[in-house]
C-alpha cells in the first residue's frame, strides 16, 4: 500500500482557493478537528485567504496574535504586485514560527499534520506553512523506572523536542548532531538520531541511518518498534539496544561514543551500540564515590547470578546431590519437605510462576487496588501455602530471594530476560542436576559471546578482552583514572580528560618561606 502511495504523482495546488479548499475538505472528510478559517481583506483587488490547521496540534494564541492579526493588518494596506504580496505573507508567517513553502497537496497535508498552520491565498499555486505547533504534553516529571538517590530527578517526556532539548541543555557542544527522520507510513513519526561528531564512530552512525531508512511500516508508536526492527540478533532474548528515560544517562552515552535514537511519543530513548555490562550500570554509579559505586556494581553482578541460578541450584542439589549439603542443613531441609507432595522442580516452577503472576499483576493493576496484591501475595500465597504443607518454607525463601535479586538489576528489560532464562535453568537443573546447570551456563556464555550490537561484541571488555575498558565494568575506577573513552565503541576522539586530574594537596611554594 505504501509503495503505491509513493509512486503517485503529488497533486499540485490549484490557482483557485476554492478548489484547494474543496480538495482539502475531501481529503479530510469526516475529520472534524480540521479548521479552515477563510477571510478576505478589502484591498484594491478583494483578495480571498484561508488558514488551515488541526485543532489541538497548534498553539491557538500564537495563530491569533502572531499570525492572523499582523497578516490582516499588513495585507489590508498592501498594494504591491502578486509576488510582493506573497513575500509579505511569508514575512508575517515567520513571526509565528519557521515557514515552509508548499506546492502540492501531499506536503501540505504533512505540514498540517505536524501542527503547522497553512496560509492559502487566491491566485497562488503555492502556500505558506507556518510553524505554530503546540498543544498539550505531559510535563517533565521524575523517572519512574530508573530511580537514583543522588543525581538529576528529571525524566524524558513524550515530546520529541522536549527530549532533545533536555539532552542539548546538558551537552552544549557544537559537535552534537541531531538528525531527523520521518518513519511510519500512517503515523509519520519523527525520529531523531543524536550523536557527537568525532566521538561517535562514523561507520556505526551510517549503519544506524541505513537501518532506519530500511524501515517501511505503517506506524511507530514507541522506541520498542525501532529496537525490534533495527537491532541485531533478532531472535535473542537479550536486548541489543539500551533504553533509558534519564537524560543524564543519554548524555553520558553520547560522551562515550554511543548514538541515541529519540522517538516522538516515547519517553524512552534508545542507545546503541551497547554491551552486556551496560545493563548493570546505573547513572548513580558516577555520582557516588567509587568505592560505593564499585561495591554496588559487584552486588548487582552477584544478584544477577543469584537471580539466574539460585532456584536451579536448589533443585539440582536437593534432587540429585544431597551429599553436597552439610548434614544439619540436609536434615532440616528433609524435615521441611516431608509433607510436601510435589517434587522440587514442580514446586519451584509453581512458586516462580506465582511470583511472575504477582509481578505482572502489580504492574498492570489499577493503583487504587495495589495494596490488595501484597496481602494476597505475601499472606495467602506465601505463609498459608507453607502452613498448609503445599510448599516447603525453604522454597519460599529461595523464590523470594531470587525475586528480590532480580529487581536489583537496574535495567528492567534485562531482568525480564533473566526471569525467562531462569525457567530454562530450572528445567536443566531438575533433569540433569548440576551438570545441567553447567550446560545451561555454557550455552548462555556461547550465546552471549556470539551476539553483537552494531558491530560491537556484546561481551566486549571481557571477551574480547580490552584492558583499558575494564576500568568501568565490574569495578568503577575513580573518574580521574578513566582517561580515555571506551575502546571499540568510540570513534577517533579518544581522550576524555587531562592526565593530572587526581586531586592533590596544594604544592608548597618553595619561593616563600
Amino acid at each position: 500500500m505504501g509503495q503505491k502511495h509513493r509512486e503517485k504523482m503529488p497533486q499540485p495546488l490549484s490557482l483557485h482557493l476554492e478548489d484547494n479548499l474543496a480538495s482539502l475538505r475531501a481529503a479530510a472528510d469526516k475529520r472534524s478537528d480540521m479548521v479552515i478559517r477563510s477571510f478576505h481583506v478589502p484591498t484594491v483587488n478583494q483578495m480571498e485567504y484561508a488558514l488551515v490547521y488541526i485543532e489541538g496540534l497548534v498553539d491557538l494564541t500564537s495563530i491569533n496574535e502572531s499570525l492572523l492579526r499582523p497578516l490582516m493588518s499588513v495585507l489590508s494596506v498592501h498594494d504591491g504586485d502578486s509576488a510582493e504580496r506573497f513575500a509579505a505573507i511569508q514575512n508575517c508567517a515567520s513571526a509565528a514560527g519557521p515557514t515552509v513553502i508548499v506546492e502540492d497537496m501531499e506536503s501540505l497535508w504533512q505540514q498540517i499534520m505536524q501542527g503547522d498552520t497553512v496560509i492559502l491565498a487566491q491566485g497562488y499555486r503555492q502556500a505558506v506553512a507556518s510553524g505554530t505547533s503546540g498543544g498539550e504534553w505531559r510535563s517533565i516529571a521524575e523517572p519512574t523506572t530508573q530511580n537514583v538517590i543522588r543525581g538529576p530527578k528529571e525524566a524524558f517526556t513524550e515530546s520529541l523536542r522536549t527530549n532533545t532539548s533536555m539532552i542539548s541543555r546538558r551537552l552544549k557542544s557544537p559537535n552534537l548532531r541531531i538528525q531527523n527522520k520521518i518513519i511510519g507510513e500512517q503515523t509519520q513519526t519523527s525520529v531523531s538520531v543524536l550523536y557527537l561528531e568525532g566521538i561517535a564512530d562514523d561507520s556505526v552512525v551510517h549503519e544506524i541511518q541505513r537501518r532506519l531508512d530500511r524501515i517501511q511500516i505503517d506506524g511507530i508508536l514507541e522506541g520498542g518498534y525501532i529496537e525490534e526492527l533495527i537491532g541485531d540478533a533478532a531472535l535473542s532474548p537479550f536486548p541489543t539496544m539500551f533504553n533509558t528515560e534519564r537524560p543524564d544517562a543519554v548524555t553520558a552515552g553520547l560522551l562515550e561514543g554511543q548514538i541515541a535514537i529519540v522517538v516522538d511519543g516515547s519517553p524512552f530513548v534508545l542507545l546503541a551500540p551497547v554491551t552486556f555490562f551496560a545493563f548493570f550500570e546505573s547513572s548513580e554509579d558516577y555520582y557516588q564515590r567509587f568505592y560505593i559505586a564499585s561495591f554496588l556494581r559487584l552486588l548487582r553482578f552477584g544478584a544477577f547470578f543469584i537471580s539466574l541460578l539460585l532456584p536451579s541450584l536448589y533443585i539440582a542439589v536437593t534432587t540429585y546431590h544431597q551429599e553436597m549439603l552439610p548434614t544439619t542443613l540436609l536434615v532440616s531441609l528433609v524435615a521441611q519437605r516431608e509433607g510436601v507432595p510435589l517434587p522440587a522442580l514442580i514446586e519451584a516452577f509453581l512458586m516462580e510462576i506465582t511470583f511472575e503472576v504477582l509481578r505482572e499483576a502489580g504492574v498492570r493493576m489499577p493503583k487504587a487496588i495495589g495494596s490488595a496484591i501484597s496481602i494476597v501475595g505475601a499472606l495467602v500465597l506465601g505463609q498459608a501455602a507453607v502452613e498448609a504443607g503445599l510448599i516447603s518454607a525453604a522454597m519460599v525463601i529461595i523464590v523470594s530471594f531470587t525475586a528480590i535479586s532480580n529487581f536489583v538489576i537496574p535495567s528492567p528489560n534485562l531482568s525480564v530476560t533473566v526471569g525467562l532464562i531462569r525457567f530454562t535453568m530450572m528445567l536443566l537443573g531438575g533433569t540433569l542436576g548440576l551438570y545441567g546447570v553447567m550446560v545451561g551456563l555454557m550455552l548462555l556464555c556461547i550465546h552471549l559471546a556470539s551476539l553483537r550490537s552494531f558491530g560491537v561484541p556484546y561481551l566486549m571488555p571481557v571477551a574480547p578482552l580490552i584492558w583499558s575498558n575494564l576500568k568501568d565494568v565490574f569495578i568503577r575506577f575513580p573518574l580521574w583514572s578513566m582517561r580515555t573513552r571506551p575502546d571499540g565503541i568510540a570513534g577517533k576522539n579518544r581522550i576524555r580528560q587531562k592526565k593530572t586530574l587526581k586531586p592533590q594537596p596544594p604544592q608548597p611554594n618553595p619561593g616563600k618561606e
Partner: protein
C-alpha cells in the same frame, strides 16, 4: 568468512586446552611421588617439539592450516589420506574426552542418568559453539578462563589453609633413580597433554597478527605446563604415594578440605572445573575435526558439524567401560598411536617443507640468475 582470533584469545584457549582435565589427574603415576618431575621433563620436551617442529611448520606456511599444508606438500592423494588420518585422530581425541567425561559425570554427579544423554548433551553444547564459529568459540574461552583459574586458586588456597599439604611427601627425590621418572615421562606425558599442541596447526592461521603466534603460544604453554606440574605436586603433597589409586585424585583431595566446620564439600567446584576443562578440550578437537573435514572435502562447515558429532558419539559408545577406555588410552594410544600424529608426521612434514623450500629457492635463484647471464 575471515574469522579473526586475537592473541589474547589464542592464549586463553592454549591454556584451557593444555590444562583441560589433566590437572585433575595424576599424570605419570608410575613415577610415584616423583611424578611431578616426569611432568616437568615432558613439558620441556613438549616445548622443544613446539619450538623446533610445530611452530616452524606454521611459519613456513603462515596463511594455511594443516590440511592445506598436507595437500600442498604431500601431494593431492597422499595429502588427502594423511589429512583423513588427522581428522580421525582429532575425532578420536574428542571421543576419548567425551567418553571420559560421561563416565566421570555418571560416577560422581548423576549415577542414575544414561551415559548416552550425558554425552549427547555435551556434544550438543560443543556443536552449538562450533556452529557459532571460531571467533565465538575463542571468545568463550577468553570469558571462561579467569573463572576456572579463580576456582583453581581458591581450591589451592583452601587446601593450604586447611593444612592438608605436606611437602615432605614429595621427598625423597629420585628415590628409585632417574630411569622410572624418565620412563614415565616418555612418551606418555609428552603425548598427553603436551604433544597435543599439534592441533593448533588448524587454528593458527586465523590469528590476527602472525608475529604474535610464537609468543602467545609459548607463554601460555609454559604457564599451563607449570600449572600442571604444580597441581601434580599438590596432589602428591596431599595424598602421597596413594594418589595414583584414585580416579580423580584432585576431587578426593578437595573433599578433604574442611575449614571451621562449614567450608566443606568443594566437590561441585571440582566438577565445574572438570566440566569446563573437558568441554574446551573436547570442543577444540571437535572444532579442529570439523574445520579439517570442511577444508578437506571442500564443503561448508555447517554441513560437517552434525556428521562429525555423530561419529564422535558413536565412537564414544564403542568403549565397553571406563576401564577399557583408560587401558586402551594409557597402554596403547599414548605409547604407539598418538606419537605418530604428534611427533612423527609433523617432523616428516617439516622435512618435506624444508627440502621443498630449498628446491624452490634454488630454482628461484637460478631463474633470477638466468637473465643476468644473458
Amino acid at each position: 568468512m575471515h574469522e579473526k582470533i586475537s592473541a589474547g584469545q589464542l592464549a586463553s584457549i592454549v591454556i584451557l586446552f593444555q590444562i583441560g582435565s589433566s590437572s585433575l589427574f595424576l599424570l605419570a603415576s608410575e613415577a610415584k611421588h616423583d611424578a611431578w618431575i616426569s611432568v616437568a621433563i615432558a613439558m620441556v620436551l613438549g616445548m622443544g617439539m613446539l619450538l623446533f617442529v610445530t611452530i616452524p611448520i606454521q611459519s613456513r606456511a603462515p596463511h594455511s592450516d594443516l590440511m592445506e599444508m598436507l595437500t600442498r606438500y604431500f601431494g593431492k592423494y597422499l595429502g588427502f589420506i594423511v589429512g583423513l588420518a588427522y581428522i580421525g585422530y582429532f575425532i578420536y581425541k574428542s571421543v576419548r574426552n567425551v567418553r571420559e567425561f560421561g563416565d566421570l559425570v555418571i560416577l560422581y554427579l548423576l549415577p542414575g542418568t544414561p551415559l548416552d544423554i550425558v554425552m549427547i548433551v555435551l556434544l550438543a553444547v560443543g556443536a552449538y559453539a562450533i556452529i557459532q564459529g571460531i571467533e565465538v568459540f575463542f571468545r568463550v574461552g577468553q570469558l571462561m578462563l579467569p573463572w576456572l583459574l579463580l576456582i583453581y586458586i581458591l581450591l589451592f588456597g583452601l587446601m593450604l589453609i586447611s593444612g592438608l599439604v605436606d611437602l615432605k611427601k614429595l621427598l625423597p627425590l629420585f628415590e628409585r633413580g632417574w630411569i622410572p621418572v624418565w620412563k614415565a615421562a616418555v612418551p606418555e606425558v609428552i603425548s598427553f597433554p603436551f604433544g597435543e599442541m599439534i592441533v593448533f596447526l588448524i587454528f593458527w592461521k586465523h590469528v590476527v597478527r602472525f608475529s604474535d603466534i610464537k609468543k602467545f603460544t609459548l607463554i601460555p604453554y609454559t604457564f599451563s605446563g607449570l600449572f600442571i606440574v604444580l597441581t601434580n605436586m599438590l596432589i602428591i603433597a596431599v595424598l602421597g604415594d596413594l594418589s595414583g589409586a584414585y580416579v580423580i585424585p584432585f576431587m578426593f583431595g578437595t573433599s578433604l578440605i574442611e575449614i571451621g566446620g562449614f567450608l566443606e564439600r568443594m566437590d561441585p567446584f571440582v566438577s565445574l572445573l572438570l566440566f569446563g576443562g573437558v568441554f574446551f578440550k573436547q570442543a577444540t578437537y571437535y572444532l579442529a575435526a570439523v574445520l579439517a573435514a570442511a577444508e578437506l572435502f571442500k564443503v561448508t562447515r555447517h554441513i560437517v558439524v552434525v556428521p562429525v558429532g555423530a561419529v564422535i558419539f558413536v565412537g564414544a559408545k564403542m568403549f565397553k567401560s571406563y576401564m577399557e577406555q583408560i587401558q586402551l588410552g594409557f597402554e596403547h594410544n599414548l605409547k604407539f598411536h598418538f606419537p605418530i600424529f604428534q611427533i612423527v608426521l609433523p617432523i616428516i612434514l617439516l622435512l618435506v617443507m624444508v627440502i621443498n623450500h630449498g628446491f624452490k629457492r634454488k630454482k628461484e635463484k637460478r631463474q633470477l640468475d638466468a637473465p643476468s647471464n644473458e
